[in-house]
């Protein structure tokens, strides 16, 4: 009896050890590619990153070819992509953030109603729609009918549709974490419903809401496919929303297609990755600073 028990313990300890090494191995395998990607981008991309990289628009093929043949760094930068990205992301956020927050709060507050459940399932479906399809939709709606040509507006619309489900879901999930007793406390003080929402629910869940918004932003920053059909790209810096604009991921695609500009692919990718990464870090620090629930 005793012997059996000790045998059993030995086997269980070995199984435990095996499982532990398996889990550790799995996590190492997962993070290796991350280090490889970051390392690769940094090694190949750092040379092109200078002041001009941020202030000048993308060079043309001829300039790049001349520089490449004389072994110099390629002149110009990604300023047209940067301004285009910021313009479109800003416009998309202006629409998607308030709309997404309101819809998320609505779904949370009316979770027992059929209409709210219907909206929630639509949101889930929307989240699963491939982004290129959102690009086609924005092309049909805006490019064909409103701006009558590729435009920043069309790009923003496709990004808005991408952002919406992300923000709606994160808002609803954050609100769910607020204890019911907090809402009751507000109502017991005679607080009107709308004030309970904007003076209690939103501030209490601020960190979760901000995290959701920042993650949605970092998600759409790197989006390329829908922009190809809507914003198209532009060699010049433009802030006209009815005209085509460039975006950082669109520039990466352009650079990739031009054998003389391969070096810029690495720099622009490094920049985009760093930008998205810092957005994620910002989201984390906001989340920990204003965490109440």
């Amino acid at each position: 009896m005793k012997k059996e028990l000790s045998d059993n313990i030995g086997r269980r300890n070995r199984a435990n050890g095996w499982f532990r090494s398996l889990v550790i191995a799995g996590s190492v395998i997962t993070i290796i590619p991350i280090f490889l990607i970051v390392g690769n981008l940094a090694v190949k991309g750092y040379r092109q990153i200078n002041l001009a990289f941020f202030t000048e628009p993308a060079p043309d093929t001829f300039q790049a070819m001349m520089a490449a043949s004389s072994g110099e760094i390629i002149p110009g930068g990604i300023a047209n992509g940067l301004t285009g990205s910021l313009l479109m992301v800003l416009m998309a956020s202006l629409i998607a953030v308030p709309l997404g927050l309101m819809t998320g709060i609505y779904i949370y507050e009316n979770s027992t109603r059929r209409y709210a459940a219907f909206i929630r399932s639509l949101t889930e479906i929307l989240q699963g729609v491939p982004s290129i399809i959102l690009g086609i939709i924005a092309y049909l709606w805006i490019v064909k009918n409103i701006t009558r040509g590729y435009s920043a507006l069309a790009g923003s619309v496709s990004l808005t549709i991408m952002m919406l489900p992300l923000i709606i879901r994160s808002t609803e999930e954050t609100m769910r974490m607020i204890p019911v007793t907090i809402r009751e406390a507000a109502f017991a003080l005679g607080t009107p419903y709308y004030k309970m929402i904007y003076k209690i629910l939103i501030p209490v869940s601020f960190s979760g809401l901000a995290t959701g918004i920042l993650l949605a932003l970092s998600r759409i920053l790197g989006e390329t496919a829908p922009l190809m059909l809507t914003a198209l790209g532009s060699p010049a810096i433009s802030l006209d929303i009815t005209r085509p604009v460039s975006a950082v991921p669109l520039l990466i695609w352009d650079f990739y297609n031009d054998p003389n500009m391969v070096n810029l692919v690495w720099s622009a990718s490094l920049f985009l990755m760093a930008f998205v990464l810092s957005m994620n870090l910002l989201a984390r620090s906001v989340a920990s600073k204003h965490k109440y629930i």
Partner: protein
Amino acid sequence: MNDTPDSEHVLTIKELSIAYEPGRYAVNDVSAAIRRNSITAIMGPSGCGKSTLLRAMNRMHELYPNIETKGDILLDGQSIFSMSVIELRRKVGMVFQRPNPFPNMTIYENVVAGFSLNDIRMKKSQRDDIVEEALRNVALWDEVKESLYRKGTFLSGGQQQRLCVARAIAFNPEVLLLDEPTSALDPVATSKIEDLLGELKKKYTLVLVTHNMSQAARISDDSMFMYLGELVESGRTEILFTNPKDSRTEAYLTGKFG
């Protein structure tokens, strides 16, 4: 009884029935009166409708969907269902089972939350006075006067509960409803809250839901015993505890069920 203001009774409950689903009554035909400046304890086993009855007194039960209410509750002779909920809840404050200070607000902000959430503007000095008075009334002032601008959630459970009482009385309500206010607290914090309630009844009328019989016996003036949605028996606590009229009350008090 008629509808004229009744100086002895603050709240008069008239044939009140509440159903969460059609036909299933959580509170069934309850009539009772709450004496001014007293502590009334509502007792009964779990699910007997005591919390629902309490919540009806400031219409918090209406937060549940599809609720059906029959009968009436009068506050100083006026039906609470004809008042605006905002006005009613200002006169009838509430403290909950678990301490629930607003986590985004400081201690100071929590005390005056009732004012800020209702857009009642005041001078800073006025607000300072209200905060100090409310915190003194709940015997919390000396413990927190140095940390008024820290978040309320940093306090211990018992302190948080007293902060919630302060938040409720900052409005100077007539009635304070307490829904098992000590069930989440340790014995020391509980006895502090009980002492506090004894002090508060000088200014306010308190209605307390509890399933702790010894607590009801210790601090209440009047008691109500509820069972399966019905008000079985009510009256002076010392009489109800020593000489219950109904066999169900006696069975509950002697621990036969509940």
